[in-house]
């Protein structure tokens, strides 16, 4: 860790600690893992970006059905290609860390589930979400009537203002009562 740690100045390290829910060791580890993903010549650049294709090879994300979405949500890239800088990566880990608050977690969960980035979870989003959760294999897929029933049930439960979509506050309302959201919305390097 010694060689890679030297790249992170003490200052920025303490700033990152201030700004994220991560501890020093976690930040250093994140930095190490991140630089491993970088190409040789990129290692000197401060704001080097790792393309989405390489990010999702991380074992922590590899089998996650939302891996692309997660990258998209946390990416600050202008081309919307889902590539991550180190700071984006830290943002990601911070939101998924153990000590992040329910508020932060539910906020990002909402953004992840909001596939079309329009600020609400509508039927299309929910459908995609269900498909993500049930996996790619065809035999596991729900039939269209089942899907419709499921989505209508979900809206029935969580759509408080009855506008046909789930917005952030409704989402957080639902999530905040769930016993195991905080414990499962976690990614640890």
């Amino acid at each position: 860790m010694g060689t890679t740690a030297s790249q992170l100045s003490k200052e920025s390290l303490s700033e990152y600690q201030e700004l994220t829910f991560l501890t020093k060791q976690e930040i250093l580890l994140a930095h190490k893992r991140f630089t491993e993903l970088l190409e040789k010549h990129e290692k000197e650049q401060i704001d080097a970006r790792v393309p989405i294709g390489r990010i999702i090879t991380l074992p922590e994300l590899k089998s996650n059905p939302f891996k692309e979405r997660i990258c998209q949500v946390f990416s600050t890239s202008e081309q919307k290609d889902g590539s991550l800088t180190f700071e984006d990566f830290l943002d990601l880990l911070s939101a998924f860390s153990d000590s992040a608050t329910l508020e932060i977690k539910s906020h990002y969960a909402f953004r992840i589930f909001d596939f079309d980035d329009d600020g609400t979870l509508d039927c299309a989003d929910l459908e995609k979400l269900v498909n993500c959760l049930t996996g790619e294999t065809n035999d596991a897929k729900l039939s269209s009537t089942e899907m419709k029933q499921l989505i209508s049930n979900i809206l029935e439960e969580s759509d408080i203002d009855k506008d046909g979509t789930v917005n952030l506050s409704e989402f957080q309302h639902v999530i905040s009562r769930s016993p195991d959201f905080v414990s499962s919305f976690k990614i640890v390097l």
Binding site: E15, E18, L19, F21, T23, Q25, E60, L61, K62, S63, N64, P65, F66, T76, D88, D91, A95, F96, E103, I104, S106, H107, Y108, A109, F113, D122, L126, V130, L133, T134, G135, T137, A140, L142, E146, Q149, L150, I151, S152, N153, L155, E156, E157, D159, D161, K162, D163, G164, T165, L168, H173, V174, I175, R177, S178, P179, S184, K186, I187, V188
Partner: protein
């Protein structure tokens, strides 16, 4: 005086804020307005509170400063400019996420700033402007803080994304408001010593800034870049102005305080880092977690927790009992209790004897009997017997405290009411993925289990319950419970039988290995056979795996408990016979001693000569029931360790090896077919751990070495099981999350702790200790040691004090008081629950109201409307252009709704559409139509879900 006027000001500010709000954010809900008002009011309180921590000097300064806020006119202008600037900044930041809303707020900000600037004269010096801003900002600041915390508490649940920004916006506005109000109020007061006062204000600003920065910045869902920028700005700011403070006593003190806080925060962070670094096996557990999901990992986390607790117990026991005895007590062979009797000496070193914890093991520090009853040992005058008793009690006290504290903490973290089944589908949807899973196979299992759970719940929802099956299922469940009760009773009887038999065997010498170890073998076998049996029987019941796990745990728990208690009762029988025996042995021992001396003097023919003491190996001993009990527990623990390790080795590892390698030459697919690989048995392992701990608690008093054995066991099983689970087990077919089962484990542990406390306390309080072994020998009761200490070591008045305290006249009122306290706390918690319910109701009502308001702004909530009309400056804001109302016909048609035969479909549908259309939150213009009926609410069965499967409403 100043305080009062300040309060008045504050009220005004609060109201003005409201006004401001209704101007700039017309569409904002009344609720928010209320909150803000509350914030304003809170500001007053916050003021009072805010003063407390400041030193007296500060306080004075502050007061001074409040009185002469006059000279701030010109600074006010700057302030406004700055505020404007910041507003603009804010604007830019906020545009990142929710453009439309933000823009409005920003516009309002700008407008405000602009207005204020017009009314004041220009000041171009930016640096000064900053200073000025601080001056007036002070008050606003406090409010902000209050507001922030309020906002946090108030709608921590509700609105996260909008909140941060809203808060910011509000803050800006409020600052301005606060400034202008203070300006107008203090115009009349005279100007004096503007410099110091400005500085003071700056200090306040810094405090606030720092607080905000440290506490909140990581809670904002912003980009890192933006947070970094803000953080840097804030830090720079603080540093810059912190350097400016340098004179005056108060200032120095303040600077010192600031510095110390900085240092303290840094230290805390470092300490936190250090602490997390100290937690062992993070990576191991994470690896397991990613392979098997959080339920298996929860076992390992529990194991780790247990290890930590036992390490502390080990520290106590060894530090205060074992090591003092070894270092300062009499050495081995000096007195009878520390010597192997002559009859046993030939075999004392045999392996088989040692494995039974007889021979040298029995007469070692591991067991109660070895300890001497000297009041003090060594040069330090260490009171070993007292320490022994205290450690024995302290072990229970510490464990009890730790378990209860952990439980309370877990319950705290658990968030709201998990029982609420209003959101079954939504939870399945939003929270069912376990993000920790990092293994393709587990992920596949998880997909499958989620799909089945979706399908199941859909089927459940559709058919509600399978009527034709319910009787059968009920019958099966009753049958299963009957079978399990039978097997529990059978196992209890078996143990009782075996224990009785072992007492018979105890009198004989010609025992085979089996007969000697019959009891341990039978108990281990029962522990091995029964859980799988229960699991098989539980198949009949067909519960959800999480519920099934709890049932399974409960049953195995009952089994273990029954076994343990049968064992205990048998042990008590044995102890009682030993106690009877002891009396005669005591007499014999004394007689033998006398005889020895008589013989000696007769042989020597010299009654004066002091005979050499009898060889300690030859002294006749009592049975020392304490050591016997200790040996039983140690044997039980060790055999438990052996059995569980062998089970893993044979049941999992050998099976895995066979399946893996015989698969090449077998007629069916072993991996997918019958034997396949084992799954990790969470319930069995957890219970094994819990019961093992119960045995430790019970046995630790009679065998101090048991704690050490247990620490070794936990340490090794951490590595061993981690390896075993990774190497030989496959993920569960139905992966489910641990959720709150951690507290369930803790509950079991607490129960076991309580149950193991009972026998130990009973023996300490009622049974007389053995006359010739252990630290309490010669006393009537073990706790006499405390009396003795009070009498001999503490000053006399303490003794009388204690005797008063032990008086029934005092104890009974104390017990009464405790009962009353319990009653009181109970009723308080009930009251809280009631108020919780009340609040929930209110929230619901508020939500309904909001909906109504959206439907028709004119008719509902007359009170609020009146209030709005009364507020000043309403005319300053141009009325929002009425958005054209969307007729419901233009709505995208709902997808072909799935109607069920037999429901009155049409009419309801139509009405619902109307209601939905008018509930569009953005249509703010008055809707002429009366609100449509709300359709059947979350009714059961068919009604819900219809007509709602449509696209997003037009925005």
């Amino acid at each position: 005086m100043p305080r009062k006027s300040d309060a008045a000001k504050m009220e005004e500010v609060g109201i003005e804020i409201d006004g401001d709000l209704s101007e700039s954010d017309d569409g904002a809900t009344q609720r928010r307005g209320n909150r803000r008002q509350a914030g304003g009011r809170g500001g007053v309180k916050g003021r009072g509170r805010g003063k407390k921590p400041a030193s007296d000097d500060d306080d004075d300064d502050e007061d001074d400063e409040e009185e002469d806020e006059a000279p701030r006119g010109r600074r006010g202008a700057n302030r406004k400019k700055l505020a404007k600037k910041r507003g603009g900044n804010d604007d830019e930041d906020e545009s990142e996420d929710e453009p439309p809303k933000r823009k409005r707020g920003g516009a309002a900000n700008k407008k405000k700033g602009g207005k204020a600037q017009d009314s004041d004269e220009e000041d171009s010096d930016v640096g000064k402007g900053k200073k000025g801003k601080k001056g007036g900002g002070k008050k606003g600041k406090k409010e902000e803080e209050e507001e922030e915390t309020k906002g946090k508490k108030g709608d921590g649940k509700g609105k996260g994304k909008g909140k941060g920004k809203d808060d910011d916006k509000d803050k800006k506005k409020k600052k301005k408001k606060g400034d202008s109000s203070s300006d107008s109020n203090s115009n009349s007061s005279e100007e004096e010593e503007s410099m110091s006062e400005g500085e003071m204000a700056r200090l306040m600003e810094e405090v606030e800034e720092k607080k905000k920065l440290i506490a909140n910045i990581r809670n904002k869902p912003w980009r890192m870049q933006r947070r970094l920028k803000l953080l840097k700005e804030a830090q720079e700011f603080v540093d810059k102005f912190e350097g400016a403070l340098g004179k005056g006593k108060g200032r120095k003190w303040y600077a010192y305080k600031v510095m110390m806080t900085k240092k303290w925060i840094k230290f805390q962070r470092d300490f936190e880092n250090f602490r997390t670094a100290c937690i062992p096996w993070e990576r191991k557990i994470k690896e397991v977690e990613s392979h098997f999901g959080s339920s298996v990992a929860s076992y390992f986390i529990f194991l780790r927790w247990m290890y930590g607790m036992n390490l502390v117990l080990f520290g106590f026991t060894f530090g205060l009992v074992v090591i003092p005895e070894v270092l300062m007590g009499l050495p081995y062979g000096s007195i009878p209790r520390k010597t192997v009797p002559r009859a046993e000496q030939d075999t004392a070193q045999d392996y088989s004897v040692l494995m039974d914890f007889n021979g040298y093991c029995k007469y070692s520090v591991l067991f109660y009997g070895y300890y001497n009853d000297q009041r003090t040992v060594g040069v330090l005058k260490f009171r070993l017997p007292l320490s022994y008793l205290m450690v024995g009690i302290g072990t229970f006290g510490y464990s009890l405290m730790l378990v209860i504290r952990t439980m309370a903490k877990n319950a705290d973290v658990g968030g709201g009411d998990g029982e609420d089944s209003d959101f079954t589908f939504a939870w399945k949807m939003f929270t069912s993925w376990d993000y920790l899973i990092g293994n393709a196979e587990t992920a596949d299992n998880k997909y499958a289990s989620i799909t089945t759970s979706f399908k199941e719940s859909i089927v459940d929802e559709q058919e509600n319950q399978k009527d034709e099956n319910i009787h059968l299922r009920r019958f099966l469940r009753v049958l299963a419970n009957f079978l399990i009760t039978c097997s529990l009773g059978g196992s209890g009887y078996l143990i009782y039988f075996v224990v009785k038999r072992s007492q018979e065997f105890a009198t004989r010498d010609d025992l085979s290995w089996y007969e000697k170890n019959e009891m341990e073998i039978v108990m281990s076998l029962l522990g091995l056979v029964c859980p799988p049996l229960f699991e098989t029987i539980a198949e009949l019941e067909d519960y959800h795996p999480r519920i099934a796990l709890k049932w399974q745990l409960g049953r195995i728990f009952a089994l273990f408990l029954g076994n343990l208690y049968t064992f205990l009762f048998a042990l008590f029988d044995e102890v009682n016979t030993k106690l009877e025996e002891e009396q005669s042995i005591k007499n014999a021992s004394i007689w033998a001693m006398k005889e020895y001396y008589a013989n000696y003097s007769r042989l020597m023919n010299d009654s004066e000569a002091t005979p050499p003491p009898m060889d300690p190996a030859d002294v006749i001993r009592g049975p020392c029931w304490e050591t016997a009990v200790g040996i039983e527990f140690v044997k039980l623990t060790v055999s438990d360790i052996q059995v569980s390790y062998l089970t893993i080795l044979i049941g999992d590892f050998a099976r895995a090896v066979i399946v893996r390698f015989l698969n090449y030459c077998w007629c069916w697919d072993l991996e997918a077919g019958f034997p396949s690989y084992g799954e990790f048995d969470i319930s069995g392992n957890v219970l094994g751990l819990v019961f093992n701990q119960g045995m430790i608690w019970m046995g630790a008093f009679y065998a101090p070495g048991l704690v050490g054995i247990n620490v070794l066991r936990l340490l090794s099983s951490m590595y061993y099981q981690c390896w075993a689970v990774m190497a030989t087990n496959v993920p569960h077919e139905r992966v489910f999350k641990a959720s709150k089962s951690n507290n369930f484990y803790m509950g079991l542990l607490l129960l076991v702790l309580f149950l193991s406390l009972l026998p130990v306390v009973y023996t300490i309080m009622t049974l007389p200790p053995s006359f010739d072994c252990g630290p309490f020998s010669g006393k009537d009761k073990m706790f006499d040691i405390i009396m003795e200490t009070i009498d001999l070591d503490l000053p006399a008045f303490m003794g009388t004090l204690f005797s008063y305290a032990a008086n029934p006249g005092l104890i009974i009122p104390a017990v009464l008081l405790m009962v009353l306290a319990i009653y009181y706390l109970n009723s308080v918690s009930e009251a809280y629950q009631n108020s919780n319910m009340e609040l929930k109701k209110k929230m619901k009502m508020a939500r309904d109201e909001e909906k109504n308001r959206r439907n028709n702004a004119d008719t509902t909530n007359q009170v609020m409307k009146d209030l709005e009309d009364l507020l000043p400056n309403r005319s300053l804001i141009p009325p929002a252009p009425p958005e054209p109302e969307k007729p419901p016909e233009q709505e995208p048609k709902p997808k072909p709704t799935k109607t069920k035969p037999g429901t009155a479909g049409k009419g309801v549908n139509l009405q619902k559409d109307v209601a939905l259309a008018s509930s569009n939150p953005n249509a703010r213009g008055p809707v002429s139509r009366p609100p449509g009926p709300r359709g059947p609410g979350p009714g059961p069965g068919a009604g819900p879900g219809r007509g709602r499967g449509r696209g997003p409403p037009p925005r």
